[in-house]
Symmetry: C2
């Protein structure tokens, strides 16, 4: 029995890669040789065909980046949008990623009261044939909504702490009477709840999501939360850069992974990679993943 | 074009019923004549057969309670737990409820950054053939995570404000430097964001979830948030009673619905209704729904 967080930290070190590759099939960004654009004129009638194209896209992407990353993160919304065939595509994508020995962080931001949170954990972490290794969750319901995701120590959860979007400030920056902000209190809460789930690497199976788009907060939270592993989204398309995320790692370059979704999935659309051509989208994705991996390693070595 | 909240308020008045019937298929509570218990020994191999049983259960339930309620609330976790066949069962359950002219509140507590929140709204509120009328959401990401669910004024969203679980206090009761608690600030935030989406009935398409298990808070929030409609969960199985929820309504008995899931779905298991027998679970559910409807109307008329 190996703690989820130890599996993750080990795979990061084996691959010397601190990136997480999001699998976010924005349909309108898929290459035409994978998805015929006219299918999008009637999304509902063509769900099955579109989902098959997405699966093919994901499999090629996974083949191209599987030695560049420890973990992939499918964003559930983009699969749920394709109805039942979309969910089938999600499960098959997870199955394919597992066959390539990748860890899966399922990005669903699930949350509910205890008995229902348990049903979500069973849905995605506990299926016998295929299951994710970890899932993103929303901590607003407090401890009894978080614990069901931690029952199996081989699995992990990433709770929203500081999100990467502009409106993160609306509620997360409200000031408490003890001088802290809400997100800081959420951080302390996560560290406390997670303290019973700490692996050999010193980090907990209860990890946190902290956006790259708020580098000041990222630095401050890292200093406070010694045992909380971070998923850092917002790199690339959302505006965070390699220098911004350095502060999210500990002094040994551990304790975090940095996610990029659109920036890798659709690298072929960027000027930098357009010599590959749309048909070589997977090669472009690999080049973008390799560049990001190296940029992060370089900034950590400075 | 009729605002979601006006559709809901009108249907409540037509049926003179302020209940919402949750559709939460806890598998271990289903009657044996609907679901053979041995199928649960291997949930994954039997997903299809179990999902077919759940659909049959839901359809009978809907037939039995469709004149007793304006709205049904499927809890997504219990369908997601059955994998792809479970999602198919969810869509078919929604289709059946629509055929009975019921409004659908899909309980998924979805939440994400703006572009992804939009994908969730498209997934569940904007499909052309079958779609929910409203969805539960989690407000932790702030305004840009909420607005995508409000774009179509015929649809609505119910944001978590004060949840019904014991650990609701962990984060929702943190005290702010202006004297308010976090949940009160969330309430003010929801009222403000929702102010651009107010229907003829005076309530907004951006509604809120406020648990029956915290009657003091319910009363106080009702007084503060004049244009915010409430979904009140926690009645029955979680311990809230009719007297507790009176404070969630306005002086005209409007502005809220009270949810019960297990208490209605599995009424046949209660001593009070066990004369019906397990095979008549739908009749027991109808009796429980009628009782709850009348209890609420009575307490509002006192």
């Amino acid at each position: 029995m190996k703690y989820f967080i130890d599996q993750l930290q080990q795979k990061i070190e084996e691959k010397n890669s601190r990136i997480c590759v999001g699998l976010d099939p924005h349909l309108e960004l898929l290459p035409e040789n994978v998805l015929a654009p006219e299918l999008l004129n009637d999304l509902e009638s063509n769900q099955k065909e579109i989902a098959a194209s997405v699966l093919k896209f994901n499999q090629n992407l996974i083949d191209a980046i599987s030695d560049m990353t420890a973990v992939v993160k499918p964003q559930m919304a983009f699969y749920e949008k394709l109805g039942v065939p979309g969910m089938d595509c999600l499960w098959q994508t997870m199955s394919y990623a597992k066959s390539k020995k990748l860890l899966i962080l399922l990005d669903g931001k699930r949350n509910d009261i205890g008995s229902t949170a348990k049903a979500y954990a069973e849905s995605y972490l506990e299926q016998k044939n295929i299951a994710a290794d970890s899932i993103t969750i929303n901590p607003y319901l407090g401890k009894d909504g978080v614990l069901p995701f931690l029952e199996n120590k081989e699995k992990g959860a990433f709770a929203l702490l500081r999100t990467s979007n502009p409106s993160a400030v609306d509620l997360q920056d409200l000031k408490l009477d003890d001088g802290r902000k809400v997100y800081q209190a959420v951080g302390a809460f996560l560290q406390e709840v997670g303290s019973n789930y700490i692996g050999e690497c010193g980090y907990s199976n209860l990890a946190a999501v902290v956006g790259a788009t708020y580098p000041k907060e990222l630095k401050e939270i890292r200093a406070q939360l010694k045992s909380v592993f971070f998923l850092i989204p917002g790199f690339g398309a959302q505006g965070g850069g390699a220098a911004d995320i350095k502060a999210g790692f500990d002094k040994n370059g551990r304790g975090a992974v940095v996610n990029s979704s659109r920036g890798i999935n659709f690298a072929y659309r960027k000027e930098e990679y357009n010599n590959f051509g749309a048909e070589n989208y997977a090669k472009a994705a690999r080049a973008a993943a390799e560049k990001m991996k190296n940029e992060i390693n370089d900034v950590l070595n400075q």
